[in-house]
Amino acid sequence: MLKLNALLRDREGKSCELIEVLQDVQSAYNYLPEQVLRAVSAKLEVPLIEVFRVANFYKAFTLKPRGKHLLTVCMGTACHVRGAPKFLDEVLSQLNVSPGETTGDGEFTVETVNCLGACALGPIVVLDGKYYDHMTTGKLRNLIQAARKKSPKKRKKIKSNAQTTIC
């Protein structure tokens, strides 16, 4: 809860900060734990039902813990016409999950994103923050198998530590 107190500092009663707070919670905990949402609701003075409504509405938020590895498959138009659906189906059947779900062993969470804005490199997937370009079904299978063998690397993704404030 220490992390949470830091996140909520100076935001008491500021209901319009809700999305920013949830963004910070998501990046600190990797998902939105119910207990934390209750605390957010109380601090920001937003009804719990509204907190859940917002948490459900926006794609950036997940209510379930993510797996050790996060695999994001870009489903933008440019990736689509270059064959992204074919390998998405393959990875889903291989891991036996639906988009947004985590494998039973807690290893992989597969998510889709509507566009990463890196269309020149498509089809593109992001595994644990690292971009892999010009993917094919075969390459992706190898990538997943390699990730299974290794423990998760430190995420390279550019993270912003500074809080932003609204209102």
Partner: protein
């Protein structure tokens, strides 16, 4: 950094910065998201090490910039003032670049760009056909500045448009200038910017807000990311000028969280501008005060719509509202709010600096200036291109884009994202301006151009956009929520070989109803991909319905994989690659077992002899 207290102090500061920049040999490394994905950060490290080891760090500047637009050739760099262009570089090339090119002026042949048309190597950036045909008024600045260093932007004349507005123009004159320039919203709507500012200036209520829409949700469009990542101060300066003209006190940049680099760079830019006194109370000693904050989007496409964006900014679910009262009167917190897109804001400083007539001299009668397009899909030169409005689709796709990739014939271009449509090759003579593309059933939109070739199924493309829009519909109004789902059911049937002519007619009818009755622009334009593909590619729909065939070989239920015995060399690559045990080998003859085949295409990828056929 010292806070600048007056316009005079700023001008002196600017002169100093510009002098410092002059004639230093500079290695400009493109390092936007695409560049970084291609490994540009490792190259930057290699350069820093090499320059330090050779004691050149003070003589040669390494400038790490945003995206230059030629994404296909990333990672790339330009050496100035010579203008030498190297592409697809690797960290191991760096020592040779430093010792050969930088120290001895030797051009390294293997790192040069090879023009596929003439098959010749091109040494200088200015001679590359991809750049030559463009007019890079906005995008060209990316190369000139390190986005994390405000000094660079100031050195190239940055913030002088703000000074001009603050010291020599009344707010009304600024609005008049923007109106005269003919600048129209670059985010998709094409609404005249000056007029919007005027509405907001006249609206009653305080405080007023100015918002930059960087929630670039259109898949296949990434120019806003590139400009915000590469030149955030141009947007900040544009917003400051807008705020001065409108009389706004507060500003927000609403940016997609899927663009971490854009979030980071805009944060740094705001902080540096604040430290220098270009944002905040009494800017440069004038009466004008303005602040800017960043709000990160939650990954909802609908939040690109103005009223939904403002709801999201207030911490609410991003649902649009009817627009009988415009957001310029009652927007964020029910107060007058002026929302413009990233590219629109980035155009403002140059208009103020160079005058309305400079901007209006480019483009067509009703669509002025330049526009950035994201050229993607089955095209040779993928990247961001900036061209004057009114240039034809053919010029963009063939002259700049270099035509189809893999030598396949281009069939169509999809413009305007999920709100736009697909235009066939025979309409490539159309000029890209707001009206011409809308009349043809598509739109300029935010500037995505996804090129499609004969291996792209147009029914599948329509299905893709429908799925996207169903996923992104906020669900508030019935025509959009229910109508799109009914449309998808019909399209699904068609792609599975269960379609009928009657259902196709029903699809068109439903599409028109959704367009007429939906609440916001998402629903109103949602049928465009379906209607435009039916209009221009009806034979493809008919092939799916009557012949139960997918001519492009995409729709899985209608295709069949087999091994062409005449091409098969019995190497066994397909057999080893197939994860579904769908390949049977008997006496060195390979066959696909239909019951096991999942049509995943791995065997086709694995085969070096093109022996796996799709029919």
């Amino acid at each position: 950094m010292l806070k600048l207290q007056s316009v005079r102090e700023f001008k002196a500061f600017q002169v100093k910065r510009a002098e410092k920049e002059e004639r230093l040999t500079t290695v400009i490394l493109s390092s936007g998201t695409c560049g970084q994905a291609g490994g540009s950060l490792n190259i930057a490290e290699a350069f820093k090490k090499e320059l330090k080891n050779r004691r050149l760090a003070k003589k040669i500047r390494l400038r790490i910039t945003g995206c230059h637009g030629f994404c296909e050739q990333e990672p790339l760099l330009v050496i100035e003032p010579e203008n030498i262009f190297y592409c697809r570089i690797k960290p191991k090339d760096v020592p040779e670049i430093v010792s050969g090119t930088l120290k001895q002026n030797k051009i390294i042949d293997r790192l040069l760009y090879s023009d596929p048309a003439s098959k010749k190597k091109v040494a200088y950036e200015r001679d590359i056909p991809f750049y030559k045909a463009q007019d890079r008024a906005v995008l060209g600045q990316n190369k000139l500045v390190d986005p994390c260093d405000i000094n660079d932007y100031i050195a190239i004349g940055g913030y002088s448009a703000l000074i001009k507005a603050l010291t020599s123009m009344q707010p009304e004159e600024v609005i008049e200038e923007i109106k005269k320039s003919g600048l129209r919203g670059r985010g998709g709507g094409g609404f005249p910017t000056g007029m919007k500012w005027e509405f907001c200036r006249r609206a009653e209520g305080r405080p007023k807000y100015v918002v930059c829409n960087a929630d670039e949700g259109d898949p296949g469009a990434y120019m806003d990311r590139s400009v915000l990542e590469g030149n955030p101060h141009a947007i900040i300066e544009g917003m400051l000028i807008g705020a001065y003209a409108i009389g706004a006190e507060h500003g927000y940049i609403y940016v997609r969280n899927e663009y971490p680099l854009a979030v980071e760079h805009s944060k740094i830019a705001i902080q540096q501008a604040e430290e220098l006194g270009l944002i905040g109370e009494n800017i440069l000693g004038t009466d004008f005060s303005f602040d800017i904050k960043i709000a990160r989007g939650g990954g909802a496409f609908i939040c690109g719509e103005s009223s939904a964006l403002m709801a999201s900014l207030a911490g609410l679910v991003g649902e649009p509202r009817p627009k009988d009262i415009h957001t310029t009167e009652r927007g964020f917190m029910d107060l007058p709010t002026n929302l413009n897109n990233v590219e629109t804001w980035a155009n403002v400083p140059a208009i103020i600096n160079n005058g309305a007539s400079w901007f209006a001299s480019k483009g067509t009668a009703a669509s002025k200036g330049t526009k950035i397009f994201a050229l993607t899909g089955k095209i040779r030169n993928t990247g961001l291109v900036e061209v004057p409005m009114g240039i034809t689709l053919r010029e963009i796709i063939y002259n700049i884009g270099g035509g189809g990739s893999n030598g396949k014939k281009i069939k169509a271009v999809q413009t305007g994202g999920p709100s736009g449509g697909c235009l066939p090759e025979r309409l490539f003579h159309l000029p890209v301006d707001f009206e011409a593309l809308t009349e043809a059933g598509s739109m300029v939109g935010s500037g995505g151009m996804v090129v499609m070739d004969e291996a792209t199924c147009m029914v599948d493309v329509a299905k893709y956009f429908l799925k996207f829009l169903i996923d992104e519909s906020c669900g508030k109004c019935v025509p959009c929520r229910i109508g799109l789902s009914r449309m998808l059911e019909i399209i699904n049937d068609i792609t599975e070989g269960k379609g009928t002519e009657e259902k196709l007619a029903l699809l068109e009818d439903t599409a028109q109803t959704v367009a007429l009755a939906s609440l916001c622009a998402l629903g109103k334009t949602a049928p465009n991909p379906v209607l435009s593909t039916i209009k221009y590619f009806r034979p493809e729909y008919e092939a799916h319905i009557e012949k139960k065939k997918c001519p492009a070989g995409v729709c899985r239920q209608l295709i069949h994989y087999s091994i062409d015995k005449t091409k098969c060399k019995s190497c066994g690559a397909c057999f080893r690659a197939c994860p579904h045990n769908a390949i049977l080998v008997k006496a060195k003859i390979y066959n696909i077992i239909d019951e096991n085949c999942q049509k995943c295409g791995i065997c086709k990828e694995a085969c070096k002899f093109q022996a796996v056929a799709v029919s």
